[in-house]
Amino acid sequence: MQALLHAIVEPGFFADGAVQTAAALGGVVAVVAGLIGVFTVIRSQAFAGHALSDIGSAGGSSAYLIGLAPLWGFVGISVLAAAAMERIGVQRARGRDVATGVVLGVGFALASLFLYLGMTYHNASGEIPTILFGSVFTLSASDLPLVMGLGAVALLVVLTLYRPLLLASVSPELAAARGVRVRLVGGAYLLALAITVALCDLTIGAILSTALLVGPAAAALRLTGRPHRAALLAAGISLACTWLGLLLAWDSFYWPPLRHGWPVSFFIVTLVLIAYLAAGALARGQTKRG
């Protein structure tokens, strides 16, 4: 609370261009991640989501090598990896972990290669933490249209498939008996997931992006038993954690030990964890009263 008041008093936070860009980009990504993440949790695909984001580090580093914006690398490699998982059998309950694990291994191998090449030939040691841990303050306002466009694609896929996706997530058999093409719906969702993960890679980094995808959704699922409420609540929690994280990161510029600011991704992920624990405590309180 004090931090909030402090920042409001200090006009710098809201006036700074980098902050505005970060708030807009981070906000869009947070909302998309919350909405899409609810289905990731319902479908028990958190591991797949995590693998897609880790693999994103290979995309980010390879994009840097060939002089492309990291976002293209994140999206490209995520979608490719999602397609590979689908081929190997990520939608079968028994093959899921194997498919994810295999693709994850290949992704890390590529990431280590590209990061090594980047360090050796391009002196990219400064870029590596950005790819791995993100830095929403370094993003440029020119990224906004692409981020919004990709976010809209992911949301459109999930909104279009909302009912069959929900039914197939509850029970593939029930959905199939109603004529839903379960595998097609699951594959389309995987595409939306890959895009969302790529957006999270951009804002909070390839290593941390699962936290933003899964954390707010898991917190929301503890608080409400209705599907669309859970999705909206997850988006709200995700947005609050992102914006509050920006605020704290801005404030931390004056914090010890370096007085050079703490990484913003650290704050966002920590706030997500706090929200998850608080939601658990709230849910337990509700059951006791009920």
Binding site: V38, I42, S44, L159, T160, L161, Y162, R163, P164, L166, L167, V170, S171, E173, L174, A175, A176, A177, R178, G179, V180, A220, L221, R222, T224, G225, R226, P227, H228, R229, A230
Partner: protein, 289 residues
């Protein structure tokens, strides 16, 4: 087994007059055979289900019950034979309750939401909320005795409560045929009896053909109008008292079995020795034609 020639139909049971209450034929299977590789899962299965009747699909694990249900649902194309629902090829007027599955207790889907997905869960987009829709769901929940836990998450309900919700989900789209895969497995006796009575009432009152698969027929005996008894992919069909007999089942199994009746219950056990019937009939059918 598959190298045997196709034999002609064997009437194992004398024909009997059809009860007058039986309605029109809702489902007709003729010569349905399913082969997966060299294995024959279903072997020339044929029977009819009529509106208002409750049929038990009885057989041990691996007898082909789930395969048969998948064929009726149109999820599996039979190698040979035809499936006709309501006079047309497999359409969407089949309600289905799958075998007991574990639902995540944190799944954000209330009993009410799952029943609503029974109306139009296959359609694209988000459902437009309306009072009519809400009332239709509430009526359905009431009809299966699920009104008390309509707002609970489905994954947190007991087995018997989940069955009621799934039945409501299957019934709300007004199917003419309701298929249930082992709905009584994992239910205690009291819940099993309540579910069976509910299904019998639904069949009678809503004039739906209800088919319940079970590996154990005793819970169904009091309400079952008809039985389809599966063994090794072959079927014997007819009224329970005509099919569940030592001679019929021995021919179906291809070896001697005994049917023991005691205290209103039926027990099918392997008979003495291995003196299998020499004829080893290929097909058995107690269905009236």
């Amino acid at each position: 087994m598959s190298d045997e020639p196709q034999s002609t139909l064997t009437h194992a049971v004398p024909e009997r007059a059809e009860p007058q209450v039986a309605g029109e034929t809702v489902l007709e299977l003729a010569g349905v055979t399913v082969e997966l590789g060299a294995r024959r899962i279903l072997d020339d299965v044929g029977f009819r289900l009529k509106a208002g009747e409750l049929t038990g699909l009885i057989g041990s694990n691996g007898a082909g019950k789930t395969t048969l249900l998948r064929v009726i649902l149109g999820l599996l194309e039979p190698t040979r034979g035809t499936v006709t629902v309501n006079g047309a090829d497999v359409g969407r007027s089949v309600g289905y309750v799958p075998q007991k599955f574990m639902l995540d207790p944190d799944l954000p889907v209330r009993a009410r939401d799952l029943v609503a997905l029974g109306i139009d869960g296959q359609r694209l987009g988000v459902a437009r909320p309306s009072r009519e829709r809400r009332e239709r769901v509430a009526r359905m929940l009431g009809a299966v005795g699920a009104a008390d836990f309509a707002d609970a998450r489905v994954g947190r309900l007991s087995g018997g409560e989940q069955q009621r919700v799934l039945i409501a989900h299957a019934l709300i789209s007004h199917p003419s045929l309701l298929l249930l895969d082992e709905p009584l497995a994992n239910l205690d006796l009291h819940s099993a009896r309540a579910v069976v009575e509910l299904l019998a009432r639904i069949a009678r009152e809503q004039r739906i053909a209800v088919m319940i698969s079970a590996h154990e027929m005793n819970a169904l005996l009091p309400v079952m109008d008809r039985v389809v008894y599966l063994a090794d992919g072959r079927a014997a069909c007819g009224r329970a008292e005509d099919v569940v007999r030592a001679d019929v089942l021995s021919r179906l199994y291809g070896h001697r079995v005994e049917v023991i009746r005691a205290a209103g219950r039926v027990l099918v056990v392997a008979g003495e020795g291995d003196d299998a019937e020499p004829t080893h009939p290929h097909h058995l059918d107690a269905e009236e034609h």
